[in-house]
């Protein structure tokens, strides 16, 4: 009886940990576009739901080009390019623009104090041609044949694939 109680206690004690472990394992994400959720990771699988751009979701699993996701309403598979991985944030272009305006790429009055070697607009403008460096860069130039040998060494095989064209929804 006491033994049983001990087990129960341990189980109860462990439950929150298990739960925590699970929530850490599940990656969060958000929908980049409106899309259908499918029952299986195939283009012609049954539609199990849908999500709208900006919806937050949980990413459960990845399989090839598909992600298994869980939204508030449904669970299923979507193409991985429909999902932004990481913390769900609404796309805020203004924030990005502000970051630029206040950052080192701004108008020149802001100076990096981090000691990190950046490459700002000013750095680029002030740059002077470096003959030694460009010669070093050119010394690494490889022939097409050398490229092919490198590919072979990695067991990379060239395949036939037509250049992608702009999609219909491409806003440009």
């Amino acid at each position: 009886m006491i033994k049983n109680l001990k087990h129960i206690l341990i189980t109860i004690a462990l439950m929150p940990m298990l739960h925590a472990g699970l929530s850490i394992a599940a990656e969060t994400g958000s929908a980049l576009k409106n899309d259908n959720i499918r029952a299986e990771p195939y283009a012609d699988a049954k539609i199990a739901g849908s999500f709208s751009r900006g919806d937050s979701l949980e990413i459960l699993k990845k399989q090839g080009a598909w992600l298994q996701v869980k939204t508030k309403k449904s669970t299923g598979w979507v193409r991985l390019l429909s999902v932004k991985r990481g913390i769900a944030t609404t796309t805020n272009k203004t924030a990005g623009a502000l970051a630029v305006a206040s950052g080192r790429a701004g108008t020149g009055q802001v100076v990096s104090t981090t000691g990190v070697r950046g490459l700002s607009e000013q750095d680029l403008k002030a740059a002077k041609f470096n003959e030694t460096e460009i010669k070093t860069l050119e010394s690494y130039t490889l022939s097409a044949e050398q490229g092919r040998q490198f590919a072979n060494a990695g067991n990379l095989k060239a395949i036939v694939f037509a250049n992608l064209k702009a999609g219909k929804g491409d806003s440009k």
Binding site: V116, E121, A126, A144, A151, G154, L156, L164, G169, K172
Partner: protein
């Protein structure tokens, strides 16, 4: 090239002047850029006046046999040097491959002045191997492609005309495998293949030259590469059209896929970039000059659709991905 050819002809025989003029008009008529229509005619005359004698008679073919791409560094240097000395003849209307490379060399050299190469020959060799293989899947496999990792903690990559491509150490550090590197390099290779930057420079330079000519201030040095690209490597800090970036994403993905890499690797890099804090200095320039990674992912998603559904066995090759020295 054409201008030079015609100049040689008119030098050697005045009789040919009529032919030249006729050809010139024909060229202008054929020109697609209606904006530059008049300017081009004016330019032609101006350039003909300015260019002195061109000693070696050039064959009227667009690419003489000497125009084969310089594969080793030494010949590349020669090309650049000769282009420098012949700068007044830089053909902005229709630059030859050599001129394009000379221009790219100038830009890349300036960029390296801002951030030198990472002193790690094995790293540079590795990046050149991956880049060269991906470039071989592009529409311009015959360019003397060169790649470099530069000393900067920023996240960025740059392409200059003629096949000069650089990425920062900061961006390299964010990559997880060789396929992701292939995707990034593929994007930059596409900029070169599509001559995105070259076209911007050409347009601007032809307008400058024409404006200078029309206002009677046509100067010899107007053709100078250095004048065209502005101060230092600022050209590398300029944005291209959004559509040019989306196109480079589509083509970069296509090249890397053709090279046998996992097709979604460029998208993986965009995911990583998208997760970077927008206020982070390291992405300030990248985010200023490119559409937001989210937008790029959406555009890529629209272009990909189901086209990658049957692409299997793409490699990521994380095992041989070169690890930066700490």
């Amino acid at each position: 090239m054409r201008i030079i050819v015609k100049k040689t002809q008119s030098n050697s025989a005045r009789k040919n002047l009529l032919t030249t003029t006729l050809l010139a008009s024909l060229l202008s008529v054929l020109s697609l850029q209606s904006v530059a229509f008049d300017l081009k005619g004016a330019l032609k005359d101006a350039v003909q006046k300015e260019i002195g004698q061109k000693p070696e008679p050039t064959t009227p073919t667009e690419t003489p046999s000497t125009n084969t791409p310089p594969v080793d560094a030494a010949s590349a240097n020669n090309t650049a040097t000769s282009a420098e000395t012949a700068q007044p003849a830089f053909n902005w209307k229709n630059p030859s491959k050599e001129e394009e490379i000379a221009l790219g060399r100038e830009i890349a050299g300036n960029l390296l002045g801002a951030a030198p190469l990472v002193k790690d020959a094995a790293l540079q060799k590795y990046v050149n191997s991956v880049g060269r293989w991906v470039a071989s899947q592009s529409e311009r496999p015959d360019l003397p492609w060169r790649f470099g990792v530069i000393e900067s903690d920023d996240l960025n990559a740059f392409a200059a005309p003629g096949g000069y491509i650089m990425l920062t150490k900061g961006l390299y550090r964010k990559l997880a495998n060789e396929a992701q590197l292939a995707g990034v390099l593929g994007h930059e290779i596409a900029h070169v293949v599509k001559k995105h930057q070259l076209k911007v420079l050409q347009k601007q330079q032809l307008l400058n030259m024409s404006a200078g000519f029309l206002s009677g201030k046509y100067a010899k040095d107007n053709n100078l590469i250095s004048k065209a690209i502005g101060s230092g490597a600022e050209i590398s800090a300029r944005s291209l059209d959004k559509s040019a970036e989306y196109e480079a994403d589509r083509l970069g993905l296509s090249y890397a896929t053709r090279a046998g890499y996992e097709p979604y690797s460029l998208a993986d890099v965009l995911q990583t970039l998208g997760q970077t804090n927008k206020n982070d200095d390291s992405v300030a320039l990248l985010f200023k000059t490119h559409p937001h990674p989210d937008e790029r992912l959406v555009a890529l998603s629209d272009a990909v659709g189901s086209k990658l559904d049957n692409i299997k066995n793409g490699k990521t090759l994380e095992n041989r991905f070169y690890q930066l020295k700490p």
